[in-house]
């Protein structure tokens, strides 16, 4: 009896955390809408706030900045607060500018890195929902439609146990992302002031 109660409590907490599971029809409709939204994106600029949650900390660590994405796979992730740090994903390479010190890493030969990069870019663009390397479950709550992606690769599972993508109910565009580690510590990214298909400076993805 006690075990059943604990189980029910656990299950109800689970429902509360991600919302109610979508039916197959609902999931198909949502997925088609999200894919259409993603397809229409040529580029995207947005502000973001990143919260790093760790169970032993009294409050999450907060960072913020701007992000620019250009289809198919260019991404600028620029932290401005509390320090200046930018990272550009482009042509299988990662370019870093750490408070003025520039460096680059070729990740083309590192499968794990490549997959993590793909995951970061895909999280932003919304292009991960037809990715075979995840098993995906769909949920809905009062604010968002939620896709929970569980990586199939053991190499990725060491770093990320699951990825939760929160989609705006009306536009079906990505609004928030949560990246969970196996320890259940997680990184929560909230996008704000999002603009799509704007005119981008041609030097946006240059490590300047």
């Amino acid at each position: 009896m006690k075990i059943n109660l604990v189980l029910i409590l656990f299950l109800s907490l689970n429902v509360f955390a991600q919302g109610e599971k979508m039916s197959n029809t609902e999931a198909q409709t949502f997925r088609a809408k999200a894919e259409n939204t993603a397809k229409a994106i040529q580029n995207l600029t947005t502000d973001f706030i990143q919260f790093k949650h760790m169970t032993f900390l009294s409050e999450p660590i907060e960072t913020s900045g701007q992000m620019v994405f250009e289809t198919p796979d260019k991404l600028l992730w620029k932290y401005t607060k509390p320090y200046a740090y930018s990272i550009i994903f482009k042509d299988h390479k990662v370019f870093i500018n750490n408070e003025g010190n520039k460096s680059s890493v070729d990740v083309g030969n590192n499968k794990t890195f490549e997959q993590i990069n793909k995951m970061i870019v895909g999280s932003v663009s919304g292009n991960l929902l037809n990715d075979e390397s995840f098993s995906i479950t769909y949920f809905k709550n009062s604010d968002f439609n939620v896709a929970v992606l569980n990586p199939k690769s053991n190499d990725i599972k060491i770093y990320i146990s699951r990825l939760e993508l929160y989609f705006d109910k009306t536009s079906a565009a990505i609004a928030e992302v949560k990246l969970y580690e196996p320890s259940e510590d997680f990184t929560h990214i909230v996008f704000k002031n999002k603009k799509t298909n704007v005119s981008l400076d041609q030097n946006t993805f240059t490590n300047k």
Partner: protein
């Protein structure tokens, strides 16, 4: 005659080079304090969060360094990338070093031994003083742990620990510099290894 002179100079050289290490401009003084306390990282209510820059053998990488006192003699130390991915997650006390998570690239004996020693020095709460020195700006306390000596430099005006120097009997090994207005939460920390090409810079993370 020349042979004798050479022998004497070799002896002098040996005597000089084997002289026990004493910090520059420091003079031995009365030993009044028996124990010197290190209050950095001592508050269990605080999240000690720093932006880290690590220079190792020509490579440089950054990230976030997080330290928290989780029990009386136990600290949790985590190093993440700026994206938030964990690179290292350990529980450290003066007698234990338990790895909760480590990325493959850092999982090397030399790196782990070095980090273990550095982390243990950073969180060591107190030292038994065996000698006291004085320099124009600092009161310097000497302690001994195993085969290492420690020189703890306290600013005469503020009373804050400004440097902990780890030495062998004759030379400097690692220097831990602390800078800031607060005796318990340093604004910045600089760990400089004298015999390894490794420097760690930590700057307090102001959200």
């Amino acid at each position: 005659m020349i042979k004798t002179l050479l022998q004497i100079s070799s002896l002098v050289f040996l005597l000089v080079s084997c002289k026990s290490y004493v910090p520059l401009h420091a003079e031995l003084t009365n030993n009044e304090l028996k124990v010197v306390e290190n209050e950095y990282f001592s508050d269990p209510a605080k999240d000690y969060v720093y932006r880290a820059k690590i220079e190792a053998y020509g490579n440089e990488f950054g990230g976030i360094f997080i330290l928290k006192k989780v029990q009386d003699d136990l600290h949790r130390i985590v190093l993440t990338t700026d994206f938030g991915f964990k690179m290292l997650d350990v529980n450290v006390s003066q007698n234990t070093f338990q790895i909760n998570f480590i990325i493959e690239q850092l999982d090397r004996k030399l790196i782990l031994n070095t980090l273990e020693q550095d982390f243990k020095t950073l969180i060591k709460p107190s030292y038994e003083v065996i000698e006291t020195y004085e320099s124009p700006l600092s009161q310097i306390y000497k302690a001994k742990e195993g085969n290492r000596n420690y020189f703890i430099f306290k600013n005469k005006e503020t009373g804050a620990i400004e440097k902990i120097l780890q030495t062998t009997r004759t030379k400097e090994k690692v220097s831990f510099g602390f800078d800031g207005k607060n005796n318990t939460f340093a604004d910045s920390i600089f760990v400089n290894h004298k015999d390894l090409n490794l420097n760690i810079y930590l700057t307090q993370y102001n959200q």
